[in-house]
């Protein structure tokens, strides 16, 4: 630095001092282009008259108007609310219950944990495929119940436009609840044992200790789990495609499948872009406040 005389060694010193920035730069540039640039690009397309091919004639909010006037989009939104609401609630309840049950010094806890968690390793396409087979009215669950002697059992949700979206919930919960369980279990294990001992000395019963002390103290994990699940719900695409294909008709469409259909099958790039922007807005509404609080909290430690 101070001693360097020639320009060349100055340059080396400059590179040396900024190695850290230089190393991060490519990733940062890629992120700027592929994330932020693409978002802006999509945002622009949503204001354009793109149909089959991208075109950049400015049409203002025309695509959004068309989007919101489509019956199909409303179905997708409604489905997202049903699916998201049920998926998150059931996963939380089930995950929490399983975690508490597993937390009772269970023999073979490792094996059970593996069983509860393995669906998370599978692709949504695999999950969709197998549940589609299980739930198919002809040879699946319905048939099985008939064979078992329950002749009046009827389970045709998969092909029932009113119920199809609930099959997505069933498969989604099967896949993700184990993951929530793992999150909760880790949090339960992190609860200060002294507090529990103190509560026990005070004469609190076991359920009291769980509901009064342990579960409230792992509240942050609920938040994290909700954010992760909500995020999964909005992004859910593969599961619907594999399980119902969005059908019957478009009865089980979600915004994610709606966007894909518009953009890649219906040659409505503009509407596709507009719906993608709506999805982004939804996710941001959930994620940004969460990240903000997380990062602010993290700064105290770091």
């Amino acid at each position: 630095m101070g001693a360097s005389s020639s320009t060349k060694s100055n340059l080396t010193a400059l590179i040396q001092r900024n190695l850290s920035k230089i190393v991060v730069a490519p990733s940062f540039a890629a992120s700027l282009f592929f994330v932020y640039g693409f978002i802006l690009w999509t945002a622009y397309m949503a204001f354009s008259d793109s149909r089959m091919m991208p075109s950049y004639g400015w049409t203002g909010l025309r695509q959004y108007e068309r989007l919101w006037s489509m019956e199909r989009w409303h179905v997708a939104i409604e489905n997202l609310l049903i699916f998201g609401g049920l998926f998150i609630t059931i996963c939380l309840l089930l995950g929490c219950l399983l975690a508490v049950l597993l937390d009772q010094r269970i023999r073979a806890e490792g094996a059970l944990r593996t069983i509860f968690l393995y669906p998370m390793a599978l692709s949504f396409i695999v999950t969709g495929t197998v549940w589609k087979w299980i739930l198919n009215p002809g040879l699946g669950l319905e048939n099985m119940m008939h064979e078992l002697g329950w002749a009046s059992f009827k389970f045709d949700w998969l092909i029932n436009s009113d119920m199809a979206i609930y099959t997505v919930v069933i498969a989604g919960v099967w896949q993700a609840s184990g993951f929530v369980m793992a999150m909760f279990l880790a949090a339960l294990r992190g609860v200060d044992q002294d507090i529990i001992r103190a509560a026990y000395m005070d004469g609190a019963s076991l359920p009291r200790i769980y509901f009064g002390i342990i579960i409230p103290s792992i509240r942050p994990v609920f938040l994290s789990a909700i954010v992760v699940l909500a995020h999964l719900a909005v992004k859910s695409f593969d599961l619907v495609i594999a399980l119902t294909g969005g059908g019957p008709g478009y009865a089980s469409d979600l915004p994610a499948t709606f966007m894909y259909t518009m953009a890649f099958q219906r040659n409505q790039l503009g509407i596709g872009a507009a719906s993608a922007m709506m999805m982004l807005a939804t996710v941001m509404a959930i994620i940004v406040p969460y990240l903000y609080s997380e990062l602010r909290g993290g700064r105290k430690n770091g």
């Binding site: 994330v35 393995y118 695999v126 184990g178 026990y200 342990i214 770091g302």
Partner: protein, 295 residues
């Protein structure tokens, strides 16, 4: 561990009943989670006739691997009927480079962002992190155009690039959080010992990063192997990854519905990630929670 058990010294029989109930509930749940896997395996080992006659939970009377060999060698994806082996290898060729590249970049980013902090490092990290949370639908349309311009449309290298770009934020997050817990003094000591940026990275930081490398590799591998959206959007025909091929086979409406082949294909698709999970899942959880390194 919330060892509440140690506190419950009440009536013995009451306790025993409660414990029995607890195990019963847990076993029922275990059956629920295992049921689809069981159905997949048993269906894939049955013949079509047996599937039509039997029930979902009946074990195969005659075990046959026909569905597996058919799925691997002859199943039709679209118009080509050469089995899913092509697509399996497509996925392998896509996943391995993408996992390695994104993990390496995540490691060096995390290292630079924590151990050689520069002004604005936090902002850069926050901006990178944001990429983890966007719904990918929002980048699909521009990406398909850019891939076309780069001549990478419908190609494995194109998919590798896509997965690296959108996996970066996760790998950077993993490594950054791991490296934050490694004492800065280690880097200071090495600096005084005369080691530079890359020497410290290769000789000191990377050798103690095994737990988080495992996390990053498992995460990226499952994400990339299981991906369907990018595969469906940016590949076509013979270039498609496994998940796309599976969906294609299952949702083909022509011909007789071969459930056993569907299930065999689904198992083949799920096998690599299941294997990784069963073999290394323990390290995944351990690595995610791994804190500071003693020393």
């Amino acid at each position: 561990m919330a060892d509440l058990q140690q506190y419950s010294h009440g009536a013995g029989w009451k306790n025993a009943v409660l414990r029995g109930l607890l195990y019963l509930v847990l076993i029922l749940f275990a059956l629920y989670y295992l049921f689809p896997l069981f159905v997949m395996v048993s269906t894939s080992l049955k013949s079509l006739t047996e599937i039509r006659e039997g029930s979902l939970i009946s074990l195969p009377r005659v075990i046959t691997f026909d569905a597996w060999t058919y799925a691997w060698n002859d199943a039709c994806v679209g118009v080509t009927c050469s089995g899913i082996k092509v697509y399996f290898w497509n996925s392998v060729k896509m996943a391995i480079p993408a996992v390695l590249i994104s993990t390496f970049l995540g490691a060096i980013n995390g290292y630079a962002l924590t151990k050689f902090r520069f002004k604005g490092a936090n902002v850069v990290f926050a901006l990178l992190l944001f990429g983890c949370f966007i719904p990918f639908q929002v980048v699909l349309l521009p990406m398909s155009q850019v891939l076309g311009k780069l001549g990478l449309a419908s190609s494995t290298p194109g998919l590798v690039m896509v997965h690296v770009v959108y996996g970066l934020c996760f790998t950077t997050l993993f490594f950054r959080n791991y490296y934050v817990s490694i004492p800065d003094e280690l880097v200071k000591a090495a600096t005084i010992d005369g080691a530079g940026f890359f020497t410290i990275f290769w000789r000191i930081i990377l050798p103690i990063s095994t737990p988080i490398i495992v996390v990053s590799v498992i995460w990226q591998f499952t994400q990339i192997w299981n991906d369907f959206l990018f595969g469906a959007s940016f590949s076509s025909g013979d270039n498609a990854p496994m998940t796309v091929a599976l969906n294609n086979i299952v949702n083909t409406t022509t011909g007789v519905k071969a459930y056993n082949v569907d299930m065999a294909t689904a198992l083949l698709t799920g096998l690599p990630t299941l294997l990784v999970y069963v073999l290394a899942g323990k390290y995944f959880v351990r690595g995610l929670t791994a804190g500071s390194v003693k020393g």
